[in-house]
């Protein structure tokens, strides 16, 4: 493995994970590991399953169960413990909603469409879950929120509603909202795809800061190859739910080995 951290336990482990939507098998026994603190970029053509992987980690989708998971896998592990499943009587069972609710607290996600709560001011967007999920005091939550909103360059917008902000500003609030939960794992799904081109740089700048100043494990789906190159330790190229190739960003972007990777990168760079 390429990551410098794989000599410790992986923070994320996909063990022969399956995911189907009806007749469509998106992931067929997908396995990979991600070390704590790693920054991994997922690239690949549309429909290759990148979003599905992130949504499985956020528990917005559930894995398609496999018979006898102890033997056959089909399980996602996080921080050394089963995540899509739970242990009961020494055996793995599909996780209950209650188990998932508790486990996913260490995972945060930033969405392509921001998904801020439109009925709450910016500050409240960032404090709400701190107070009601993490049970922080209102004062503590507010001071943390102000600190993070300052970090993303929006200290003057705390009293605005989301729809009074530009897309780039909304996305930076969404990043602050996710960080306020002190996640161990941060999932970023094409977070600049919905933005006007001139607003992309600010958002990526904030994420570069986060990558530089924290040791949060990051899974990034993006078409911003320059950004991927700068922040990630590893790039995984997906096609049809399968890892076609994985390597350091330098190797993948300057010397891709697989034809599918070469074709994909050529197509993205031509955009």
């Amino acid at each position: 493995m390429l990551s410098p951290t794989t000599d410790t336990d992986p923070i994320i482990r996909f063990d022969r994970v399956n995911k189907s939507f009806g007749d469509l098998d998106v992931l067929k026994g997908l396995s990979f590991e991600i070390g704590a603190g790693e920054r991994v970029t997922l690239i690949g053509p549309s429909g290759s399953g990148k979003t599905t992987i992130l949504r499985l980690l956020m528990t917005l989708e559930l894995v398609t169960p496999v018979k006898d998971p102890d033997d056959n896998g089909g399980v996602i592990w996080v921080e050394g413990k089963p995540y899509s499943h739970m242990e009961k009587g020494g055996k793995l069972h599909v996780a209950s909603e209650r188990y998932l609710r508790q486990r996913r607290q260490k995972v945060g996600m930033v969405f392509q469409q921001f998904n801020l709560f439109p009925n709450m001011k910016v500050l409240r967007n960032v404090t709400e879950a701190q107070v009601h999920t993490l049970k922080r005091s209102k004062e503590e939550a507010e001071s943390k929120a102000r600190e993070l909103l300052d970090l993303v360059g929006l200290s003057d917008k705390v009293d605005n509603y989301p729809n009074q902000l530009s897309g780039g500003q909304q996305q930076r609030v969404a990043i602050a909202r996710a960080l306020a939960m002190d996640p161990d794992i941060l999932l970023l799904d094409e977070v600049t795809s919905a933005l006007d081109p001139e607003l992309v740089a600010d958002v990526l700048g904030v994420l570069r800061d986060v990558a530089d100043t924290t040791n949060i494990t990051m899974l990034i789906v993006t078409h911003e190859m320059g950004f991927a190159r700068d922040v990630s330790n590893r790039v995984m190229m997906f096609d049809q739910g399968v890892i076609v190739e994985e390597d350091t960003p330098d190797k993948i972007f300057s010397d891709p080995q697989e034809v599918r990777t070469q074709d994909f990168l050529r197509a993205v760079l031509a955009e």
């Binding site: 956020m58 528990t59 917005l60 609710r101 996913r104 607290q105 995972v107 945060g108 996600m109 969405f111 469409q113 921001f114 998904n115 801020l116 709560f117 439109p118 009925n119 709450m120 709400e128 879950a129 009601h132 999920t133 509603y161 989301p162 729809n163 009074q164 909202r177 996710a178 939960m181």
Partner: protein
């Protein structure tokens, strides 16, 4: 029968007004039921287990698809025969009317809930918000903005249907005119005209207020 008589009109006016007061009281009680129960039903239809949800949806559909008059008569006779003959027509009528309209308001609430982008639910999940917060501060406020005008329109419609309860003996305006007619063999023209004008006088400002509310909600921050 003769033409309009001012004398009869002024004699029947206080009676019709009293009937109208009854209409307002029924509207108030049934309105609270329709607004509250409709919301409970809409939330239950999204959250309750299937063995609650299915029969509940079936019941609501049944209520929407049978006439209010039949429901009122059925409940009135069955409750007075089998449960308690002392229950007043006012109470039974208000409950039947409220339930009937709850089956409509629940649909307006449901539409409001379904119009909320899935990303709102997903963000709430990603933040591990407890269900009561997700509903209370994320979903319901956004639903309210979308459903309030529709629910207000159902309440106005309900208000105009209160006279149906005359059939089970709620002493509203028709009953009052009927009573006057029974005594004087006159007053239908005057009584129903006054009743109509009172309905108009009450529902017009409410309709205008609803329109204004609709505009204000459309311009709100979300």
């Amino acid at each position: 029968m003769n033409g309009w008589s001012n004398e009869i009109a002024s004699e029947i006016f206080p009676m019709v007004l009293e009937g109208f007061w009854t209409v307002l009281k029924v509207t108030f009680v049934a309105g609270i039921l329709a607004i509250g129960l409709g919301l409970v039903v809409a939330i239950a239809e999204q959250t309750a287990p299937a063995w609650v949800r299915r029969p509940l949806s079936g019941l609501m559909q049944f209520i929407r698809n049978t006439p209010l008059l039949v429901q009122a008569l059925f409940v009135w006779y069955t409750t007075s025969l089998y449960i308690n003959p002392e229950w007043s027509a006012f109470a039974v009528g208000s409950v039947v009317l409220g339930l009937h309209y709850a089956s409509y308001t629940s649909e307006s609430y449901r539409a409001g809930i379904e119009a909320i982008p899935p990303g709102q639910w997903e963000a709430a999940t990603a933040l591990s918000l407890p269900a009561y917060r997700t509903w209370g501060v994320v979903i319901l406020p956004q639903m309210m903005r979308r459903s309030t005008a529709a629910v207000a329109n159902w309440i106005i419609a309900m208000f105009k249907e209160v006279p149906v309860l005359f059939a089970i003996g709620v002493f509203e305006m028709i009953a009052q005119v009927d009573k006057y007619q029974g005594l004087h063999y006159a007053g239908a023209l005057e009584g129903y005209t006054i009743a109509g004008l009172l309905f108009l006088a009450a529902s017009y400002p409410v309709a205008v207020a609803t329109r204004r509310l609709e505009n204000r909600l459309a311009k709100s921050h979300y």
